[in-house]
C-alpha cells in the first residue's frame, strides 16, 4: 500500500512545503471550493462533476461564481468583486472553459484571471490514458509553463501604419519563481529530471535570462537532473519519442504550444487536466479545452478533462482517497468502452457517461 501512495503522490500538484495548501474554510469537515462553470459546455460539465463528487460523497462544497469581465472605476477591466472575494477566501477553485473572442476590445478572460490571482505556474501532467488509444503510448511527462509574462504580456503597438510591434517581456523575478517551482515540483513528486525549453540562440537576452535563472535553480537542487534544449529540438523529439521527457519548464508561448502538443499526444484537450498555481496559496484547476459552442446545451460534451482537473484538485487538497476513487471510476469507464461520449469514440450522451461513472464510484465504496 506504500507503493500505491507513491503512485498517488506523483500526481499531486504543487504540494509545496513552504506554501499553505490547505484551504482555511472548512465547515463540518466540508471544504468550500469556488466553482466557475464558464461558457458554452462549461455549465453542463460542471454539473457532471458535481454529480460525480456527490456520488463519491467527497467533502466538497461548491460556491458558484461568474467571472464575466466588467469595467471597474477608471475603465480598467476586472473580474467581478464577489468572484475575487470567494477565491481569496477559499484559495482553491475549479474552472470550466471561458470564451476568448478574437480582437474584441477587452482582454482575454483567462489572462485577466491570471493577473488577478498572480497564477504564475500552469502545470499540465500528460499521462497516456489506458483505454483511449493514440499513436503514442507510455507518455508520462509534465509541462510547467510560466503563465504571467513572456509573449503574452499583451503589450502591442502600431509603430507606423503597417508595422506592428509585440513586446515579449522576460523578468528575472518571474523566471526565478517558475524555475524554483519546477524544481520543487520535481522534488515533491519524485520526478527525475527537469528540462528547460528555450530559444536562446535567437532571443539571446530574453531567453538567455530565463535560462540563467533555470541554471541557478538547478544549482540549488542538485538531486534533480537538469538539461536544456532548444524549442525546435524538443518539438522534433517529442513527436518521435515522447518517453524521453520528464518535467519541462519554459516561458509562456513555448509552454502554450508545447503543452497543447503534449495534450495532443495523449488524446486531446478533452482528456487533459490542468492546474494553475498562484502566489498566496491560490490554486485554480481547469479544463483547458474550448467552450465548444457547437455542442453546447446538447448533452454531448465530455466531462473527463474537468473531472481529471478536479481530481488533481483533490490531491492538492490532500484528499487522496477520494481522488483515487473518482479517477479509477473514470478510467475504468473509459477502458470498458461501453458508455463513451462522441469525442471518445462512442455515441452516448454526457449524462449517460456521467451516470456510468457515478455508478462505478458507488460500487467502489
Amino acid at each position: 500500500s506504500l507503493g500505491l501512495f507513491d503512485c498517488q503522490v506523483s500526481r499531486v500538484v504543487g504540494a509545496l512545503k513552504t506554501e499553505t495548501s490547505r484551504p482555511v474554510t472548512s465547515v463540518r469537515g466540508m471544504q468550500t471550493v469556488t466553482l466557475i462553470p464558464g461558457d458554452g459546455i462549461g455549465p453542463e460539465i460542471s454539473t457532471a462533476v458535481m454529480k460525480i463528487f456527490e456520488a463519491a460523497k467527497a467533502p466538497i462544497q461548491w460556491e458558484e461564481r461568474n467571472v464575466t469581465a466588467i469595467q471597474g472605476p477608471g475603465g480598467k477591466w476586472m473580474i467581478p468583486p464577489d468572484a475575487k472575494e470567494s477565491m481569496d477566501k477559499n484559495k482553491i477553485g475549479l474552472k470550466g472553459p471561458l470564451k476568448t473572442p478574437i480582437a474584441a476590445g477587452h482582454p482575454s478572460m483567462n489572462l485577466l484571471l491570471r493577473k488577478t490571482f498572480d497564477l504564475y505556474a500552469n502545470v499540465r501532467p500528460c499521462v497516456s490514458i489506458e483505454g483511449y488509444q493514440t499513436p503514442y503510448t507510455d507518455v508520462n511527462l509534465v509541462t510547467i509553463r510560466e503563465n504571467t509574462e513572456g509573449e503574452y504580456s499583451g503589450i502591442e503597438h502600431v509603430i507606423v501604419d503597417g508595422v506592428v510591434q509585440s513586446i515579449k517581456l522576460i523578468t528575472e523575478q518571474a523566471s526565478q519563481r517558475i524555475a524554483e517551482y519546477a524544481f520543487e515540483y520535481a522534488r515533491n513528486n519524485k520526478r527525475a529530471s527537469v528540462t528547460a525549453v528555450h530559444k536562446a540562440n535567437i532571443m539571446r537576452m530574453s531567453d538567455g535570462l530565463f535560462l540563467r535563472k533555470c541554471r541557478e535553480a538547478a544549482e540549488k537542487h542538485k538531486d534533480v537532473k537538469f538539461t536544456e534544449m532548444y524549442l525546435d529540438t524538443v518539438c522534433l523529439n517529442m513527436v518521435q519519442d515522447p518517453t524521453q521527457f520528464d518535467v519541462l519548464v519554459m516561458p509562456n508561448l513555448y509552454g502554450d504550444i508545447l503543452s497543447d502538443l503534449c495534450a495532443g499526444l495523449i488524446g486531446g484537450l478533452g482528456v487533459t487536466p490542468s492546474g494553475n498555481i498562484g502566489a498566496n496559496g491560490v490554486a485554480i484547476f481547469e479544463s483547458v479545452h474550448g467552450t465548444a459552442p457547437d455542442i453546447a446545451g446538447k448533452d454531448m460534451a465530455n466531462p473527463t478533462a474537468l473531472l481529471l482537473s478536479a481530481v488533481m484538485m483533490l490531491r492538492h487538497m490532500g484528499l487522496h482517497d477520494y481522488a483515487k476513487k473518482i479517477e479509477t471510476a473514470c478510467f475504468d469507464t473509459i477502458r470498458e468502452k461501453k458508455v463513451l461520449t462522441k469525442d471518445l469514440g462512442g455515441n452516448s450522451k454526457c449524462s449517460e457517461f456521467t451516470g456510468a461513472i457515478c455508478r462505478r464510484v458507488q460500487e467502489l465504496e
Binding site: H157, S166, C235
Partner: protein, 392 residues
C-alpha cells in the same frame, strides 16, 4: 521557347564580358525576366563560362562539413556542372567578418548550399545568430519545406504531404532586445504589412503552381491581436485574389495538436517565423526525423538551400552516422533551381531508391548503415542508370 534560349545564350556571352552581374542581365533582358517572375521560383543566375555554375558552399559546424563533403563527392561523381566556392564561417569568433564574406559570396553567385552555423551561448548577447544574419541580410523571406511520408521509413502517421511556408526574416527573430531596467528584458516581435503580404502571396502562388487545394494560416491572433491579427488580415487579403484555393486559419496550439493526431488534414501552411519553427520541426519529426527533410530559403534575388530543421548535430559529428538524405535532397532542390533538372532527378531518384527500396537506413531512422555506405549506394544507383559518371 526558341526565342527564349536564343536570348539566354546571348546573355551568357554578354555576362562573361561584364563579369557576370545578375542585376545588369535582368535590366537588359527584361522580357525574359518578367515571364519568369510569374512563377513562385525566381530567376536563377546565368551559368558562367563553359556552362558551369558557381555555388557558394558554407560548411558550418557539427555534421555540416561532412555532409556537404558527401554532396560534393556525389556531384563530382555524377559530373554535375557545378563548382563550389567554399566560405568558412568560424562560429567561435565574435567579429562579423566571416559571415560578411559569406554574404558577399552569395550575392556574387546568387545560390548557396549551407550547413548550420552554431550559436555559442558563451558569447555576449550582442553576437547574433549567424544563420539569422545571413537570412535577413539577403532578405530570404520565404522558408519552404515539403514534408512527405516516405514509404521506406517507419512512422506513426502515414500519407503526410504538407508544404510549410514560413516567413523567414521578421517576427520573433528580429533580434531586437534590450534590458530597459535591470532584470527586465524586452524582446520585440515585429510584424509588417509588407512582409506579411509578401509571404502570403508567395504561399498562394506556390500553392497554385503545385496544384494544391488549401492554404492554412497559422497564428495566435486571439492573444496577439495586433501583431498576428495583421498577419491574418494580410493572408485574407491575398486569399481573396485566389478564389480557386481554399483559405482557412488555425491557432498555433490547436495546429500542433491536430498535427500529432491527424496530420493528413493539412495541405499548405503559411505562418510567421516562430510558429514556423515549431510547426516545421513537428512535421519533420512526423515524417521520420531531421535527417530526411530538405529546406530552401528563397528571396527575391537569392536562394540558399539547407536541411529543413537546421540542426548542427554536434553530438553525431564526425562519427559517420549522420543521415545524408536531407542534405542530398537539398542539393537536388538547388539543382532544380539552377534548371539542371536531369541531374537533380537522377540524384533524387537514387537517394529515394536507397531509402525506400534498398532500405539502407542510418541509425536515426532505425537502421545500421553508415553515412558513407548510404552515399556509396546512391552513387552505385546513379551509375547503374547508365549516365556519365566518374569512377566509383
Amino acid at each position: 521557347m526558341a526565342a527564349h534560349s536564343a536570348v539566354f545564350s546571348v546573355s551568357k556571352i554578354l555576362t562573361s564580358f561584364r563579369g557576370g552581374h545578375l542585376g545588369n542581365t535582368a535590366k537588359v533582358f527584361g522580357t525574359t525576366v518578367t515571364s519568369q517572375r510569374n512563377k513562385a521560383v525566381l530567376t536563377p543566375p546565368p551559368a558562367k563560362y563553359g556552362g558551369r555554375h558557381t555555388v557558394t558552399l558554407i560548411p558550418g559546424d557539427g555534421i555540416g562539413p561532412e555532409l556537404l563533403g558527401h554532396v560534393r563527392e556525389v556531384f563530382r561523381f555524377s559530373c554535375v556542372p557545378v563548382d563550389f566556392e567554399v566560405v568558412n564561417v568560424n562560429s567561435a569568433l565574435e567579429t562579423e567578418v566571416d559571415i560578411n564574406n559569406a554574404i558577399t559570396a552569395i550575392r556574387r553567385n546568387g545560390v548557396a548550399l549551407k550547413g548550420n552555423i552554431e550559436t555559442k551561448h558563451t558569447m555576449p548577447p550582442s553576437v547574433k545568430s549567424r544563420n539569422n544574419v545571413l537570412r535577413t541580410s539577403l532578405d530570404l523571406y520565404a522558408n519552404v519545406m515539403h514534408c512527405q511520408s516516405l514509404p521506406g521509413v517507419q512512422t506513426r502517421h502515414k500519407n503526410i504531404d504538407i508544404m510549410i511556408i514560413r516567413e523567414n526574416t521578421e517576427g520573433e527573430y528580429s533580434s531586437l532586445e534590450h534590458e530597459s531596467v535591470s532584470g527586465v528584458v524586452e524582446s520585440l516581435k515585429i510584424i509588417t504589412r509588407n512582409n506579411s503580404l509578401r509571404i502570403a502571396d508567395y504561399a498562394f502562388r506556390l500553392a497554385r503552381e503545385k496544384g494544391r487545394r488549401r492554404v492554412t494560416a497559422v497564428h495566435k491572433a486571439n492573444i496577439m491581436k495586433l501583431g498576428d491579427g495583421l498577419f491574418l488580415q494580410c493572408c485574407r487579403e491575398v486569399a481573396s485574389g485566389y478564389p480557386d484555393i481554399t483559405f482557412d486559419s488555425m491557432i498555433v496550439d490547436n495546429t500542433t495538436m491536430q498535427l500529432v493526431s491527424k496530420p493528413q488534414q493539412f495541405d499548405v501552411m503559411v505562418m510567421p517565423n516562430l510558429y514556423g519553427n515549431v510547426v516545421s520541426n513537428v512535421c519533420a519529426g512526423l515524417v521520420g526525423g531531421p535527417g530526411l527533410v530538405p529546406g530552401a530559403n528563397y528571396g527575391r534575388d537569392y536562394a540558399v538551400f539547407e536541411t529543413a530543421t537546421r540542426n548542427t548535430g554536434k553530438s553525431i559529428a564526425d562519427r559517420n552516422i549522420a543521415n545524408p538524405t536531407a542534405m542530398l535532397l537539398a542539393s537536388c532542390m538547388m539543382l532544380d533551381h539552377l534548371k539542371l533538372f536531369d541531374y537533380a532527378s537522377s540524384i533524387r531518384n537514387a537517394v529515394l531508391t536507397t531509402m525506400n527500396e534498398t532500405r539502407l537506413h542510418t541509425a536515426d531512422i532505425g537502421g545500421q548503415g553508415t553515412t558513407s555506405e548510404v552515399v556509396q549506394s546512391v552513387m552505385r544507383i546513379i551509375q547503374s542508370k547508365g549516365q556519365l559518371t566518374a569512377e566509383l
